[in-house]
């Protein structure tokens, strides 16, 4: 598959690989996908008191497009508010990486992952 420069860059030099403390109340964890499908993304965000995402980390089991999509989204959400992060669309990811049509679902999974992480954070911090 002939991938775009951006995609290859994120695959070879993924940003924000790692884990945050999933038990902390500042951290939201999203785990989406399934090994049987060949795609699993774990995305974690650390949110400040003012609702800004201070840090984000990811780990992905999946093809080059999946790794690149999740790497990209962790880069994008840092510094954004939770609501702004929630409104990131998979199409923006797909365009930036120039994902081939057969790989669009990887960007969808990345969008699902951030939404899941946000939902987990909100669930933990229900007042």
């Amino acid at each position: 598959m002939a991938y775009s420069k951006n995609l290859i860059d994120h695959y070879e030099n993924p940003r924000n690989v790692g884990s945050l403390d999933k038990d902390s109340n500042e951290v939201g964890t999203g785990l989406v996908g399934a090994p049987a499908c060949g795609d699993v993304m774990k995305l974690q965000i650390k949110v400040s008191d003012s609702g800004i995402i201070e840090d984000a980390k990811f780990k992905t089991f999946g093809c080059g497009s999946a790794i690149a999509s999740s790497s990209l989204i962790t880069e994008w959400v840092k510094g954004k508010s939770v609501d702004e992060a929630h409104s990131i669309k998979n199409t923006e990811i797909a365009n930036h990486l120039a994902l081939p049509p057969v790989k669009i679902h990887c960007s969808v999974l990345a969008e699902d992952a951030i939404k899941a992480a946000i939902a987990d954070y909100k669930e933990k911090n229900k007042k």
Partner: protein
């Protein structure tokens, strides 16, 4: 500057320089039509084709009269299965094949079942990729015309028990066809010892040119097939069309080389295979070989690397040319039907790589491959949530995944 190294010998092979040398005169110098009966241009071309035919026959212990040249194993498979069905089909209309056969065999059988009123039984395979001989015997009925089982598998390299299958077929009076595209030159083949009635051969899998193959058709007792291509009646009426002397000579020479070099080549490949497998396994855990370890040709290593996905691994080892059984690399997003038939769990099927060793692979190539594969496996496992969970002792089979 990183050189690309070829590790996909099951997909195709380079033409051996000795084969190229033998082929070249037949493009510009000896260019006659081998079927031209009236002049030396034709006679010279014909002579070369007949020598090639003999070389092909010798490697499988057949008579040259039993070899017809085709455009490749796909055509040979189609001709064998559909041609046999067309000739004998009104009396016997049941075929037995196997779920792991090559697509051209499966599709030919499907065509017969959908359009020609044939019944087809697709035998399952055991976890090692081999068929169960008892299941084969049970499946044969008075209506069974043909059993078609490949000699060596293209994806997993396992060797089917051809002699035993041939015995069963002979006893039950059923024709036995075997797709030996990946087997010729790799294992000993003897059409008489193994009671084979039809055999498909492929040039480009054995250091011969692409675009040529052969079909062995038994003469004693005579096996009849209907031709698929109508025309001048070449190849004893079974396959019309002008033969390319260059291509035939290429296939013949590739076979001739193997008739003296097969054992030495297999020894070398076994050594390289062990170097590769042990090199990877000594540095990484949870590497699984797909398919039988001992009923297997040495040049095929189909490995699953748990917790990392095949396409991402292939991208990481981009200067090593391999192929993968992962869904991402097939256009349909379905993981390999072959690995599925072995019972390999889907998540492991997504992690598989087929590494092929061949005539021109060196020890240096293998050492470079081990280093590259090991370093990428470690890098991708550090990236993988599944590896992380496994290291933490989480039982991945117990998780409720939110499948999409």
């Amino acid at each position: 500057m990183i050189k690309n190294i070829y590790f996909d010998y099951q997909a195709t092979t380079p033409v051996d320089p000795r084969v190229i040398d033998k082929m070249l005169p037949y493009f510009g110098e000896i260019y006659g039509n081998p079927h031209s009966r009236n002049h030396s241009y034709g006679w010279e071309a014909e002579e070369a084709v007949e020598i090639a035919r003999e070389n092909v026959a010798n490697i499988i212990n057949a008579n040259p009269k039993e070899i017809i040249f085709t455009s490749g194993a796909t055509e040979s498979n189609n001709l064998a299965i559909k041609g046999l069905a067309e000739f004998y089909g009104d009396k016997k209309n049941h075929i037995i094949t196997c779920v792991t056969e090559h697509k051209c065999v499966l599709e030919s059988c499907r065509f017969l079942s959908e359009k020609k009123n044939f019944d087809v039984t697709y035998l399952p395979v055991k976890a090692d990729g081999l068929i169960d001989l008892k299941e084969l015997e049970k499946a044969i009925t008075p209506k069974t015309l043909l059993v078609s089982i490949m000699g060596v598998h293209n994806e997993i390299g396992v060797i089917q028990p051809l002699k035993e299958i041939g015995e069963i077929c002979k006893e039950k009076e059923v024709f036995f066809h075997t797709d030996c595209a990946q087997a010729v030159g790799k294992i000993l083949l003897d059409v008489n010892l193994m009671n084979i009635d039809l055999m498909s051969i492929s040039g480009h899998k054995m250091y011969g040119p692409k675009g040529v193959g052969a079909l062995y058709v038994r003469r004693k007792p005579r096996v009849r097939i209907s031709a698929m291509m109508s025309g001048g009646g070449q190849e004893r009426g079974m396959r019309s069309g002008t033969l390319s002397p260059a291509l035939c000579v290429g296939l013949g020479e590739a076979c001739r080389i193997y008739s003296t070099e097969m054992d030495a080549e297999n020894k070398k490949l076994m050594k390289l295979k062990n170097l590769l497998l042990n090199g990877i396994r000594s540095q990484c855990d949870e590497i699984y070989l797909n398919g039988s370890e001992d009923q297997r040709v040495p040049g095929n290593l189909n490995l699953s690397f748990a917790y990392i996905e095949g396409e991402s691994l292939m991208m990481g080892i981009k200067n090593l040319a391999v192929s993968s059984g992962s869904a991402c690399t097939s256009a349909s997003l379905e993981p390999s039907y072959v690995l599925k038939a072995l019972g390999v769990q889907e998540e492991l099927a997504h992690t598989s790589l087929r590494i092929g060793l061949g005539r021109f692979t060196t020890e240096d190539d293998v050492n470079k491959a081990v280093d590259k594969i090991v370093s990428e496996v470690k890098r991708l496992r550090a990236l993988s949530p599944l590896w992380e969970m496994a290291q933490d002792g989480v039982d991945l089979t117990k998780i409720n995944w939110a499948a999409h």
